[in-house]
Amino acid sequence: MSENATGFARDIDAAVLVRAQHGDMQAFAELYRVYGRACWQLALRLLGERQAAEDLVQEAFLKMMGTIRSYRGDAPFGAWLKRLTANACIDQLRRQRHVAVVDAEAMFAQTATTQAVPHEILDAAVLLAHLPARARAIVVLHELEGYTHAELAAWFGQSESYSKSILSRALARLHDIVDNAEPSSPQVTACPSR
């Protein structure tokens, strides 16, 4: 396993994958040890709620356990699991109709503009929670997970320019939130999951 890589970019021993493909629970536990945190971070950032993220990670891992036999090794396992998790998140947002609003103006109007942000315990997820669900998904998948606008356009059934426009508006919204927050010690790390 590569020591420097983090999150979904971490390698996994091929023997562990083979054992997992045969339903070995210890191998699944190892996969969770390596990728569980990255899945959790991605789910929390996309869904914006801890309980929803927990449920999502559970569903994503159960799905992975059920479909790992279909993993052929064409892409790194982490990338495969990341896509599975992101798909599950977007499906969940769709089910909750959070991504139903297509019009960018309407989408950003639905979420209050700049809110007062509590400072006690904050993390990147809290900041991202100030975005509408679809905008948050585009920001996280593009900025933190490295998906291209073309991939996001296909994911959401929209054009690339739509994805770029949402990203730009979302970054502007975050910029406003940061501006309105009280200044304190800026020791922030983004904790990207890749």
Binding site: L44, Q58, L171, V178, S185
Partner: protein, 158 residues
């Protein structure tokens, strides 16, 4: 101030200390419990499915037997017809004697008559209780003819 170009710049200006995003420690045990529950449910459904298939097949078999028991004509027709066809094949394998004995000639002519009745019954769309006995008679005649042929062939060889 210009807008940030990317999320990292926004994060860099975020005035809060980031708490590490860690999955709750009990999440894996939750996943294993859910996995075990689903596996058990899936196995139970498989067993239930297999049991249902066996039950349905047993019910069909019992139903067929009951139907056959209540329709002896149909059962007889199937059996006598199959038997007659098998006997005919056996008869075809035997060499023809130089001349048939009179008993054989009589049997053959009755066989031809039964064939005629069968044909007429089928043409009329005859019922099972009419056709069944004809197949039975045909089978009996073929049986007799087979015995006569075997007897004739053995006496010709000696």
């Amino acid at each position: 101030m210009p807008l940030p170009l990317n999320l990292q710049e926004v994060f860099a200006r975020w005035p809060a200390t980031v708490t590490p995003l860690s999955a709750p420690p009990e999440l894996w045990s939750r996943i294993t419990i859910a996995h075990r529950t689903r596996s058990r449910r899936r196995r139970a459904l498989q067993v239930l499915g297999s049991a249902s298939v066996v039950l349905v097949m047993a019910a069909i078999a019992v139903g067929m037997q009951a139907w056959r028991a209540h329709d002896p004509a149909s059962q007889a027709r199937i059996n006598w017809q199959a038997r007659a066809q098998a006997l005919e094949l056996q008869l075809d394998t035997l060499p023809l004697p130089p001349s048939d004995a009179s008993a054989a000639v009589q049997t053959q002519s009755e066989l031809a008559r039964v064939d005629g009745y069968l044909q007429a019954a089928y043409d009329r769309g005859g019922a099972a209780d009419e056709i069944g006995p004809l197949w039975q008679r045909r089978s009996e005649l073929l049986d007799a003819l087979l015995a006569l042929r075997r007897q004739q062939n053995s006496s010709t060889r000696t």
